[in-house]
């Protein structure tokens, strides 16, 4: 029983946590991919930027959170989301709009987003340094240990406050996005443009507005993902490409252009990652007592933690080989 709880804590909960982060990032990436038709390489640094804005706000008003009973950083997150959304729109105006109007190839847009990501990296590292920072300034991370009503279970289920906030935020974001895309005029226009940009233009849909809305959503989600990740662990300014790969993998696994696919893809990548680095020896120990001949090594994991980055990569390759349109039938590209 204890082994099972251990497995649940370290694989299911942790996998769901990192999966939620990937999902939040991947939804933004997939929307941009669907509407603007290029892989947005600056997404990871937009996440870091959002978290950094939260850090600044938290440092300015450290007493807000304790007054409400939530982490200050979480209270500040909506503000930073608005700011990041505006920054995303500004970046588009400054660096992508002209290229788009000149009808450059998608791959040039990718290049431009690499330029943007390097600029963001430079600014963030210049102002924030490269060391890790904690978003908890005046408050502490609450940890919930849940006793299980089983005789044989002496271990607890462990969930932290930021993890619960993350799950709640993801549910909220997905429901809100679902309603927006299916009920609102602009949301439907977004789907239309993702479906058939030429026809959208011919129908009189204001493509500039749709692009703007896309960036607002992508920026806000990036900020939320970055902040919640930093709340769960710490704010690492140099995460960038390391987190970009699983997010792209999640978006492609889910089918580019499909937000629900990105959600599922995030969890697929997150859970696979934690499963792959999970040390099975802990769980198999009881077996060793039962079968003395079995000699388990100290670590029996599919992938050593240092090689975690290979997991999203191989998921990506596998999906590109067998189903390039993704599990959820995204755009055929």
């Amino acid at each position: 029983m204890n082994e099972f709880i251990f497995f649940f804590n370290s694989v299911v909960i942790n996998g769901a946590v990192i999966g939620s982060i990937y999902a939040m990032g991947a939804i933004g990436v997939t929307l941009v991919f669907g509407i603007l038709r290029f892989a947005h390489f600056a997404h990871a640094d937009m996440m870091t930027l959002g978290a950094f804005l939260v850090l600044i706000l938290t440092a300015l008003f450290p007493a807000v959170g304790p007054a409400i009973g939530l982490p200050t950083a979480f209270v500040m997150m909506p503000l930073a989301m608005v700011a990041t959304a505006f920054i995303a729109v500004g970046i588009d105006k400054l660096f992508y709009k002209k290229l788009r109007e000149n009808n450059v190839k998608p791959v040039v847009m990718v290049m431009a987003s690499v330029g943007v990501t390097l600029m963001l990296q430079g600014l963030i590292r210049f102002f924030a340094g490269t060391g890790t920072q904690s978003l908890y300034i005046d408050d502490r991370k609450a940890i919930f240990r849940i006793d299980l009503p089983f005789e044989s279970a002496s271990r607890n289920l462990v969930v932290t406050e930021p993890q619960l906030l993350l799950f709640l935020s993801l549910v909220f974001a997905v429901v809100a996005l679902h309603l927006f895309l299916n009920k609102s005029r602009l949301g439907k226009a977004m789907r239309a443009m993702s479906d058939n940009p030429d026809l959208a233009k011919v129908s009189g849909i204001n493509t500039n507005t749709v692009v703007g809305v896309t960036w607002i959503i992508a920026g806000a989600l990036a900020c939320a993902a970055g902040t919640l990740l930093s709340l769960d662990v710490t704010l690492k300014p140099d995460l960038s490409f390391m987190i970009l790969l699983p997010i792209f993998a999640a978006a492609i696994v889910g089918g580019v252009g499909s937000p629900y696919g990105a959600l599922a893809g995030g969890f697929v990548v997150g859970l696979t990652e934690t499963l792959a680095v999970f040390n099975w020896t802990f769980v198999l120990r009881p077996l060793e007592q039962a079968i003395p001949a079995l000699d388990l090594p100290n670590t029996l994991a599919f992938v050593p933690t240092e090689y975690k980055i290979t997991i999203p990569f191989f998921i990506l390759l596998a999906i590109l080989i067998w189903r390039p349109t993704g599990l959820f039938k995204g755009k055929i590209i």
Binding site: R191, D195, V202, S203, G204, N206, T207
Partner: protein
């Protein structure tokens, strides 16, 4: 004053002209049909009118208003609807959502227009909640025309509406075009099925090599032996 008038337009892709002086004019009570051999510039004319490619010479007027080289979304505001030949529905969206997208520029209540489109195309009413990608070719064409009608245009441009359809559907589409025209919408369309199309045309334009070869009423063109010999396959 004509509803739409093209005066000597030259247009093409990347410096290569396909149209070398096309003239045409129709009234709002009329159906105009453009026919001609492949590569004559039929679709190109429609695209030039709808601002999808650059007009280098000549002018296009909508009710005397110069609209040469206006962007498509501006033309939708001015009361023009355009139905492309291919990829003319949003396949992942329902029929009704497709129609709503046609009404994107309208901020008023357009539900009466949905009903009017459904009265033109009764087939669509039952399928309103189905993704347009699941419909047959003829039904898709209806969705596409309905989408363009949502802004209550004064002029509807149709690019080969019957391409690839069975004769049954073809006749149905032509009937709908007549009905739409009767409701007060001028129609200008390009057609491969020249004979059938000229039968319903008030005006016919025979293009060849980017120029007008014959311009007359549909009936006269059908009866003209020279047109019949060179362009209608005898």
């Amino acid at each position: 004053m004509a509803l739409i008038e093209c005066k000597n337009i030259h247009a093409g892709y990347g410096g290569m002209n396909i149209l070398n002086g096309v003239n045409m004019a129709i009234e709002s009570s009329e159906i105009g049909v453009i026919v001609g051999p492949n590569g004559a510039g039929k679709s190109t004319t429609l695209k030039a009118i709808f601002g999808l490619l650059n007009v280098s010479e000549g002018s296009i007027e909508l009710r005397g208003d110069d609209i040469t080289n206006l962007a498509p979304d501006k033309l939708v505001h001015k009361g023009m609807g355009f139905v492309p030949q291919e990829h003319n529905v949003f396949i992942s969206m329902t029929v009704e959502e497709n129609l709503e997208m046609g009404a994107f520029i309208r901020r008023d209540d357009f539900s009466y227009m949905l009903e009017r489109v459904y009265s033109f195309f009764p087939d669509l009413k039952d399928k309103r909640r189905q993704p347009a990608g699941e419909l047959s070719g003829g039904q898709r064409q209806m969705v596409a025309m309905g989408r363009a009608l949502m802004v209550e245009p004064s002029l509807l441009l149709l690019d080969e509406p019957t391409a690839g359809l069975s004769p049954l559907y073809m006749n149905e589409i032509f009937e709908r075009v007549i009905a739409i025209n009767k409701s007060g919408v001028g129609v200008l369309m390009v057609e491969q099925n020249a004979k059938q199309a000229l039968r319903i045309a008030h005006k016919g334009f025979v293009l060849a090599a980017g120029k007008n070869r014959f311009t007359d009423t549909g009936q006269n063109l059908l009866n003209d032996p020279e047109v019949a010999k060179s362009f209608l396959g005898g």
